[in-house]
């Protein structure tokens, strides 16, 4: 697999665009990512290795409404073999649990696609703990999974409908447990981001899904990658703009510049990388 596709798939599409990040924000993003990693616990090494930037972004958005400076503390990094500053706070354990819930969803998806082995099974105990502690979200995840499966079995060709389950789930993730006055804005932002991720992932997987026969809404519509991009690119941009518009109406007290970078620069960059218009090595983390 090409390196840039591997990177996008493994680390997620939602990441900053480093050339437009300040040094401070660059360090802060890493500290959030490391904070979620640390929150996953010492026993979940495989799990920690599969942590995506999307989850770090989730923690950054949810932590944007806190009071006071960031709570930073040193923690040992098992991959870099040194102590690094990590962000601490209630958003970290939540993000870690979300990572585990999504890992569970990935395991179910892999099984459904016929994969006999899914690496996600290696940390079953951590997943079970997360599903117990975040029962409501887990139920929402199962409902999403069921709805997605139903659409796939019906060979859904409606591009909007296909993205709906994941879109709603991400909206719920962003808004879960937040103050009521922020719920609508975060939900709108999350739904647009979820829709964007779904469409971009489908765009990215066209070749692989054509070969394997796995469900892909663009393949179902008889599109190849170029024609699918032509069709979906304006709508991806609309998702980015709507997410940004929603973000701008929220009363965030910090992390604004990082979120802005991801929405305005990181997301278009991710689209360009998927279309091989730009190399992943030119600045993205």
């Amino acid at each position: 697999m090409e390196k840039k596709k591997w990177g996008a798939t493994l680390f997620g599409y939602l990441r900053p665009y480093r050339p437009e990040l300040t040094v401070r924000d660059d360090e802060l993003f890493k500290a959030y990512y490391c904070g979620v990693c640390a929150a996953l616990g010492k026993r979940s090494m495989v799990c920690r290795a599969m942590l995506r930037f999307d989850i770090a972004f989730l923690s950054i958005v949810r932590d944007a409404f806190g009071d006071g400076p960031h709570q930073l503390a040193p923690a040992f990094c098992p991959t870099k073999l040194k102590r690094l500053p990590v962000v601490q706070g209630p958003c970290m354990p939540f993000a870690a649990q979300v990572h585990l819930l999504l890992a569970e969803e990935k395991r179910r998806d892999d099984r459904r696609d016929g994969s006999k082995f899914s690496g996600m099974g290696l940390f079953r105990r951590q997943i079970e703990r997360a599903t117990a502690e975040q029962g409501e979200l887990y139920q929402a995840l199962l409902a999403m999974d069921e709805a997605q499966l139903s659409l796939e079995q019906e060979n859904c060709t409606d591009v909007d409908l296909a993205a709906e389950p994941f879109s709603v789930f991400v909206g719920r993730l962003l808004a879960h447990g937040m103050d009521e006055e922020r719920q609508e804005g975060l939900s709108w932002m999350g739904r647009n981001i979820g829709r964007w991720i779904y469409w971009l992932d489908a765009l990215d997987d066209i070749a692989a899904d054509q070969k394997s026969g796995n469900y892909n809404v663009f393949v179902k519509n008889g599109m190849d990658k170029q024609s699918a991009h032509q069709y979906i690119a304006p709508l991806l941009a609309l998702c980015e703009s709507q997410a940004f518009a929603a973000w701008n109406t929220l009363d965030f007290s910090r992390n604004g510049s990082i979120v802005r970078n991801v929405l305005l620069y990181g997301m278009p960059q991710a689209v360009a990388e998927v279309m091989n218009e730009r190399q992943a090595g030119d600045g993205s983390i």
Partner: protein, 239 residues
């Protein structure tokens, strides 16, 4: 508030009389008519519209057997969440208030250019579209969609309004397709063309920004407009 007094009708007036009077008042105080007036007059008209809408909602509530309230915009609506609506997965927006859940969101709702009072047709069908525009402006998206789907005759304006409804549900593909159909059916209509161009303009700006041209003024306008939209209580400003 005496809603009948606000609308200037008798409590014994028929539903049609009340509806007719309501439309007259909305047209009279519509923000488009005050675009060139001083801000104080614009604000006064905006407040007047809110009062008129509240009065009309209250009368509808009273006459349908419900209490005086907030115009039927309670949480839950029709089939919130997964798999509720017969029209398919998450058919009614999935969250929050009736009306797609996001009455103040999106660039394609509210008063002003996207309701397009200047574009109405005369006659019974024109009245129907007029009413649907009102529903969309007030965030009653579920009702707007139902009213549209009940119509057999679907000219360009139908597709345009359907596109606005789809935008509120974040069904962007369907919305763009609807706007495109409206433009194809009525190429000379600036309102329909502008809706389609808005989507393409966002894409062009995003590409320019990501290719290193920085935040250009077009993007600033669009994103600010979208942010302004919610801050201004549903009115769409083109900055």
């Amino acid at each position: 508030m005496d809603p009948y007094k606000v609308l200037g009708v008798s409590p014994s007036a028929s539903d049609d009389e009340i509806k007719k009077k309501y439309r007259e008042l909305v047209k009279k105080y519509h923000p488009d008519r005050y675009a060139s007036k001083p801000k104080s007059e614009q604000d006064a008209a905006s407040e007047r519209i809110k009062t008129i809408n509240a009065a009309y909602d209250q009368i509808q509530q009273m006459r349908s057997g419900g209490g005086a309230g907030a115009g039927g915009q309670g949480y839950g609506g029709a089939s919130a969440g997964y798999g509720g609506a017969s029209s398919g997965y998450g058919g009614q927006g999935g969250y929050g208030r009736q009306g797609g859940g996001y009455g103040q969101w999106g660039p394609f709702g509210g008063y002003g250019q996207w309701s397009g009072y200047g574009q109405q047709q005369s006659g019974p069908r024109g009245d129907q579209f007029d009413e649907i525009r009102q529903l969309i402006s007030r965030g009653l998206i579920v009702q707007a969609e139902q009213a549209l789907l009940r119509m057999n005759d679907r000219p360009a304006q139908w597709h345009y309004l359907y596109g606005l409804v789809q935008m509120r549900y974040q069904r962007y593909a369907s919305a763009r397709d609807s706007f495109q159909t409206a433009v194809n059916m009525d190429p000379g209509n600036p309102e329909y063309r502008q809706a389609l161009e808005q989507i393409d303009a966002v894409y062009s700006s995003n590409r320019r920004r990501s290719q290193g041209f920085g935040l250009d003024s077009t993007l600033c306008r669009i994103c600010q407009c979208m942010a302004c939209f919610s801050l201004c209580g549903g009115r769409f400003y083109c900055c």
